[in-house]
Subunit: 348 residues, 3 copies
Amino acid sequence: MQTIQPLGWFFLDDEMKHFLSTTDYSRTELQHLLDQSAALKQHPVSDVLAGKTIALMFLNPSLRTRTSFEIASFQLGAHAVVLEPGKGAWGIEFEPGVVMDGDAEEHIVEVAGVLSRYCDAIALRAFPQFKDWSVDREDRVIRSLAQHASVPVINMETIVHPCQELAMMRTIQDHLGEPDQRKLLVTWTWHPRPLNTAVANSALLMASQFGMDITLLIPDEAYRLDPQFMQQAESQAARSGGRIQVSQDIEQAYRDADWVYAKSWGALPLYGQPAQEARLRAPFKHFMVDEAKMALTRNARFSHCLPLRRNVKATDGVMDSNDCVALDEAENRLHTQKALLLELLGGQ
Amino acid sequence: MQTIQPLGWFFLDDEMKHFLSTTDYSRTELQHLLDQSAALKQHPVSDVLAGKTIALMFLNPSLRTRTSFEIASFQLGAHAVVLEPGKGAWGIEFEPGVVMDGDAEEHIVEVAGVLSRYCDAIALRAFPQFKDWSVDREDRVIRSLAQHASVPVINMETIVHPCQELAMMRTIQDHLGEPDQRKLLVTWTWHPRPLNTAVANSALLMASQFGMDITLLIPDEAYRLDPQFMQQAESQAARSGGRIQVSQDIEQAYRDADWVYAKSWGALPLYGQPAQEARLRAPFKHFMVDEAKMALTRNARFSHCLPLRRNVKATDGVMDSNDCVALDEAENRLHTQKALLLELLGGQ
Amino acid sequence: MQTIQPLGWFFLDDEMKHFLSTTDYSRTELQHLLDQSAALKQHPVSDVLAGKTIALMFLNPSLRTRTSFEIASFQLGAHAVVLEPGKGAWGIEFEPGVVMDGDAEEHIVEVAGVLSRYCDAIALRAFPQFKDWSVDREDRVIRSLAQHASVPVINMETIVHPCQELAMMRTIQDHLGEPDQRKLLVTWTWHPRPLNTAVANSALLMASQFGMDITLLIPDEAYRLDPQFMQQAESQAARSGGRIQVSQDIEQAYRDADWVYAKSWGALPLYGQPAQEARLRAPFKHFMVDEAKMALTRNARFSHCLPLRRNVKATDGVMDSNDCVALDEAENRLHTQKALLLELLGGQ
């Protein structure tokens, strides 16, 4: 087996770093990860992380993220421990100073402390609670974990999904080369339930760092993303030479796009009110990606984070065409997460 | 660690092959697997599949199959990812062309596609739904998976259980040597619930390829197995020099048997009607394997796929006798599955 | 990777041994394990157990025990298979001779037999049922498993928790050196539910083997531990030069203590009657470990097996002080369990 040496990221020699959001990293640092991913795809198996361990904590179910992280660890010689505490709920206290005579049996201080003694990294999936966006937007679960851990913490999807961002950008570069000024359409699509905004937030955050010309297509103002992400993406675009516009005009949005990225999410003004949100959403099934819309683009590729409901978010014709690269993006989850593990765990 | 080279199966150089049913394989090919198993039992640990991965998908629970596959993978240097989507149900769409606005979040095309990108093989357990045999007998879940996967798919029990067949035949050969013309009794036994016919189907399919003289002992015509398996077994027996007869005469069936294999299953004409099936089944508790019946045999060995309800399917006396080889058969699950992995994953 | 040779325990050459309770081992044998643990902490990764496997069966949930055993196995080159049959219940028959026409699908004879064919050791967590202490005190589940297994069985907590004992004593020795005659306070604390006595039983059993001067602080006679453990601890103390006293006087108990170990448990006379037990327990919240109590000690360290409810069992001030070594004890679970695996699996 060939051993692949990690790139010498400067910050890893200086201080332990988490991977909570790509916005904590520069474009140069992110490109290092993407370059490393391409090398790892060529040489998938090594023992460079022999003896290392990572805890994968899923507060919400996962097939793709779990499988790709578990295999990424194995193919580098490391071992992933999969933990599913409470299946969605987690009897963990996050507030400091609380008298813990309620449901929570353990405080995040001890959870983070113990796992930091056992493992070389902790990865966490913790979806929002879908009750109060003013609470969920603070992303407190993973931030508490990171605050109290003494090993790197990796975000496997909370209100952003930075691992998906790496795979998305790796796939864009695989197919388009340099992403600067290329036209990315991020289109909302209908779905029977009001979903998490994480992947949409992340698509904007990543593409804006890489100078893309982004159009966010939404059916109604209520589907704008949270200002904290819109503003962050806009300021990143200003630095990178990219651009962000929000549109409700399907034809204009698809016109000349180089890349179409679809995702469904719930309207934040109706967060926690699924019945009302469903009524608002109902008239917009025609946002589904279909062949007619794709014909407006500049031979764009189509991708999605998966899972995808066929003939709801995109037609069979789009999914089964040669332009659909969703499986490539799924595969890149594996390669990019390996690069991430190598950088976070292999730096010493 | 000693490295064991896989036998050079011809078809693996030509095309990717699944392991859905032993009927897709010739006796020569199956015997290769059984010979390989014996060698692997002698040299259990190697790194011949280093870096390889397999997804084990359980739509139904498992201890034995999961443990034996997970350890088989580990002892060959590979890694098994255990997935339990939905615990019995699976929110997956199998029909082509459907508008997926119901429960299913993902289509089998993408599930198979993504896992094929991550793993070198996919193993699946998917029990029938026990509602409509005309649907379940088509075994659509695993056939859809195999159709859309680009890596080998292994059947860990659907309406057949070919991995159990390998272990059964390995155990027969360990104890009896050549199986041709040896008398195998496959006896129905009572159980509180109407169980899957898979192991019974499989016992017939495997034994008929190896020229055995098979008696299927049932308490009533309603307990005949599905014609697709009966006819397949009969045509295999015709080619191999074996024989199949169906009997309702306990004494005649046990007389001079070399091997007694017990299994319980529900009557197919009452499939999906458990209360009526229970009434039909009620008078037949005396089909339990006991010492008196075993005394009619030619010093036969007794085996079962496990789990087994003691003093319901077989008496303590039978289970604790030296003639009971059920643990040997369970152990052979490990060795035969290693041979299977080696052939399907180690061929290149 | 450096290979660490196991110490040459005499009994391993003679016969297979289980690890059900530390009382089956001499102080010399236990000290061997603790010394081995310290060496393993310095050299955590090796391949000394390459190809070996252990089944971890959890009838009750676990994060800490599961993670530490899984990583311990990996870092020694072995593989742990995590099994969670039935999530709390277990459809297993333990009685010999039963007609198994009820819920149980399998007998412990076959479960133990099959896992012994697949694995080099079996570890089990099986909490008591909290209905009838006269039944639970016999610890039948793990004893049946050990009786029928042909590989070592390890107790991951039943009505004792010997793995926790090893970590506790390793931590005491790390901080205090020789434990003989050092004053150990094992203090009951309030908790919203009546918990298992296992850790309290185990603290007494281990400390009494190592000559400690033990005070068991309880709020009421009803919180005395089962006589089988009290008497065993007393007879061990008599041999080791240690001492055990039971006290209801908080101030006297804390005075001059070298080590404070906290645990909550339910009163055995009200076992299976949680409402009545809650009334008995209600007035005793002031047994919480706080700074004022700790000030009475001889600069004692504080520890706990975790999870711990902050400001219920111990104050934030105690938990966040430099004297709290609960994370050290949690970490020592990993090192001591490695020593245990090495001794039980590496002896040949």
